[in-house]
Assembly symmetry: D2
Homo-oligomer: 364 residues x 4
């Protein structure tokens, strides 16, 4: 179990779907930051279940409480514990899944790993686990905004076969994105996605999608080669989000089909630094930010828990048909948007702290 | 700088392209393992420059020496230091690049991060840095083979627009792969790739590609949710390889276009455990191995150093034309195969050691 | 801020003296362990303020709640969050200390380190921070007892000039110790210590002391040379307890005055293993447990907060007289006993998990 | 095996007594530092065997080579690998110790831990392992001197019953110390210690001692509560030195006998900061440096390897008499001086880097 992330801005999360509370402890938050629950709640609201007709019907207000680490609305530099209560459990919904591991879910692997598993709600593999990421990510994002003017913005770039088009990552805003019920800033695509997800929810099926993310105003120099290159840490954290199957930075897999003479980003002078004409690099060269916007895309599979009947076997290997009950999302990507932003913020702030230390003691 | 990887099988690498030596220290290798240089050299030979007409002309024998941690050909459980000398430097080749950062290379970002950089050879961003990964990965792979019969096999699955087809990841062997000069087990694709790379080398251009990898016979239970899920650590390490732009596990981005009812992998009984009928999960569910083969694909951009003239600017922002000298690969994926295998071995062994500890003290 | 400890049994603590709650998250607890609040509360009761006339008058029940990581009284192998509310704050007691840093306390250094500090109660430097150690240590001790039959027993071995005598570390029990109001198993010394502490409490002064600890039934092989030798990790954790000034293992400083021919512990056959005739080594040789009892001693300074007037200066450097209010212990060692035991348990279990992993994959 | 230390200035050591080489990789050294072998060699010379008639007769020049991480005498910010060859092995000296574990040495515990051990020379438990600490510590000390003017000075404060007296830790210099063949700046004590050690060397016996250390000019604010308090990390690293049995900071165990009213260090104004009148705190309050000199003392047992006959048992438990051959120190403390200094430098620099990062991003 490794529920911790980061070297200098280090978080440790806890909580199952159906225990008393989920939360996170942040160790290493810069002291003196103005911080109250109001700074954190909006991102949790974007993540919470039941926020629209297209998400799971589980209702959780997901109100966060700061237990420690602040006084009079300022951080003390000490560990900040954030907690959200679990309220709307319905363990009975899981009774028929006690004996039958859900295909492509974590029931079987958790049982094999730990020899025991939470009897309901997915335990630690539940999306509720991401509350810690989102809450601590909101704190990290606030530091990044105030100290570096960094913006981290994610959106739904595809659902199933439906792709958003004409998104300008240099100008897109969170307001643009939240206008869409599915957090897709292409209104035409939004309409088609809404129709598709509604249909699948009724059918008891699910669908995958992708989330794109841009990080703007990142100073050059972030990233710790060789094993903690900036894209390596982003890839790790994005693939730590439930249901992810792929990660691309900059040109991504499309770049693998190109020639160097096409793909290279020529340098130009931009204000008082060097910039690049194109951004196939996605803002990262040699594992280190170059000052251009960091761009990435994350692929999510369709949620594994569907109510359509599935031919499978039970834990003892006997054939069984599973019709999952419980309240589940037909498509996770709209709710994944704040999770992606949270992961990005956690990585960027940790890397910024590492680089600040280096710059403070360099001999130049 | 984070040149270390792993919790229990922990490696720390060192060395620039043009310093005295490159190498790695392994801390946590199981004691009593039979180990000599002969166990490590073959993978270094698959990685070394100058191994074929299609790679860089730099000639390095890359002979490894075990400095510590073994006695009479057995590991002592103490740190194993592995070292490879650098011999064929030609710093003069880099003289015209002192002032002009190579587009899409690490020259600019290293300078911004450290305020100083190796004046020749790419320093730590050079592919020579991967020697430590490959050497320590060979040790990890030996442990995995002897203790679990795990096979880790990577191959070139595309170069530019040319895709290998009809590869069966359940039966492919390293011998199949090494028959191909470009490590692509599809002979038709090999011929086309060879022609393409030869042409680009003559032109002074470069091209990207993808490497696929399968890990067979992985026991269920490996992977440490939530931030060190198995696919998360694989994604991190693969994106830590120079020139990588994307990572997919199992169905990957294609899975993001599917319905849950198509994508879910039904369970069936396989011998004395549960297996799955399909493997869209790529051998991992909930961040934990499920006993099926782990499958993944990594995208590499075209090498940034090309000898074609490039319009760019120098460090001071003045327009300049760069025609890179030095000896560089027109396509890195054939030499990336042992690096991908090394990263995979390092991750899997570390996760196996973590799980062994858990199983030893569980209360069941 | 590093409020985390351990590699495989990893804890992260949080909480100031006067915030909403203090607590700890345990990551890596073996799954399947029977665990409820009743397993943890007794050690917290031994640590809590107000437990006797000789301790601070602050009254805190220190009732622990398990928020996550268990189901039906069994651990799931997932993070276990433990929480204790803060109730009996009296911030007003600290009003005269806002401007005057207490001599030998952490007021000044916290202010210098963080540029801000908790305005009352000592914040994170308060002894309340040790609740996380004690609570998680109780969980670790339970695992150690059930898996290895390990006993960890600490006691007060001196207060001021008064030394306990005739303690047999091989047979002493917690019951023996808890018979004494000051946790000193020598009844004669107990009487003298009680009189001394009572007198000092009335005077508004304080006094130091030492705690001794034995760990019995430790298997050979624990400890991770070279930087995480067993005594090194014990020294680190003991010196992380507030008010500690010294650490000894085995013969300690007295051993520095001896000859090798006196100090060496000859081996003898004990049952089916080797043991030693004497135990100057304190159960550790070369940083690794040898199977004999581990013995150590920890020195505590007198508490810094005293109500006697002290001539000092305020934060601006102006002369001032400080007469501390608040409720403080005249002597911390009786309450330090469960803290020492907790630290020892955390170290030993982490080292045991590391060694189990090694043994599981050794080639012998 | 944990042969790594540090978070931001991180070292990883390797090497047994009788393998090809010993060394260390430093990850995180500030870039741009002027660094050549000449900066490192003097401390290795103070540590090397054979340096005087009072140490082991093993002759090793211990010449260090920088393999990586510098160019033109400046650090690049990349890993610095330092290496020292082993030359004067005499494995035959150990033939009679193959079957008989040396009392109070690591032969038995290494065998129990790893199931295998180096057949000669003590392997990793040999004092040769400390070369990595000393070499990397010399680099750390150079950074600390140039950036903060920090001085780290250790000396022999006792051998057996002979105590050095009248040492002023505020003014003592390395030159004062190195005038003494036993690194004791009290000439009277030096004479008595020299006579004692000479006698014991002839007898084949050994003796313990203590090393004291002062760290001057440390800025306030270093140390990471709660588990990585400054004294906690110093205690860990000092107890990681072979043969250590005790650690004290400031008043140490003597402080445990004092009253608060005696022990507290009143604040006074010193230049533009607060200082303290006395220094029972040893420069650390609440785990954080307060700007006063850090003072500590470390106790070493007598070396375990003596040539006097010892009644013991062999590995199978059969009675045996051991008369150790090989070349061993009768007293380790003179050679321990640079090791203590190295450990101190490694801790202080790591803590300084952590604090620089915090200060760079604080909101004040």
């Amino acid at each position: 179990m490794s529920s911790s992330l980061g070297t200098l801005f280090r978080i440790s999360t806890f909580g199952e779907s159906h225990c008393k509370a989920v939360g996170v402890v942040i160790d290493g938050c810069p002291p003196g930051l103005s911080l109250t629950e109001e700074d954190i709640q909006p991102q949790l609201d974007r993540r919470r279940p039941g926020q629209s007709a297209l998400t799971t019907d589980r209702q959780e207000a997901d109100q966060v409480t700061i237990l420690s680490g602040t006084e009079n609305g300022r951080t003390l530099g000490t560990p900040i514990a954030l907690q959200v209560a679990n309220r709307d459990h319905r363990p009975a919904d899981y009774s028929n899944m006690r004996d039958i591991p859900r295909p492509s879910h974590a029931d079987y692997t958790y049982q094999m790993k730990y020899g025991i598993r939470a009897s309901s709600g997915g335990g630690r593999s539940s999306a509720r686990e991401t509350i810690g990421t989102v809450a601590s990510g909101a704190v990290a994002a606030k530091v990044l905004k105030e100290k570096y003017n960094i913006d981290i913005i994610a959106w739904v770039s595809s659902v199933g076969e439906i792709d958003a088009t004409d998104i300008d990552s240099e100008t897109i805003t969170s307001a643009d994105i939240d206008k869409s019920i599915v957090r897709c800033p292409d209104s035409n695509a939004t309409a088609r996605i809404t129709a598709l997800v509604t249909e699948l929810k009724d059918l008891g099926d699910s669908v995958g999608g992708t989330v794109s993310c841009v990080i703007r105003n990142v100073p050059p120099g972030l990233g710790e080669p060789t094993y903690e290159k900036l894209e390596a840490k982003l890839a790790q954290t994005m693939l730590a989000i439930p249901a992810t199957k792929g990660f691309e930075v900059g040109s991504g897999f499309a770049g693998s089909r190109m020639r160097g003479s096409q793909h290279n980003d020529p340098f130009i002078k931009k204000n008082n630094r060097l910039g690049t004409v194109t951004n196939n690099s996605g803002g990262i060269q040699g594992g280190i930010s170059n000052g251009e916007s960091i761009t990435m895309r994350i692929g999510f599979k369709p949620p594994a828990t569907i109510s359509l009947p599935q031919d499978t076997v039970d834990f003892s290997g006997e054939p069984a048909v599973l019709e999952a009950k419980g309240r589940h999302d037909p498509c996770v990507v709209p709710r994944a948007v704040p999770i992606v932003e949270g992961m990005a913020a956690l990585v960027i702030l940790d890397m910024a702290l590492l680089q600040e230390s280096r710059m403070a003691l360099q001999f130049l």
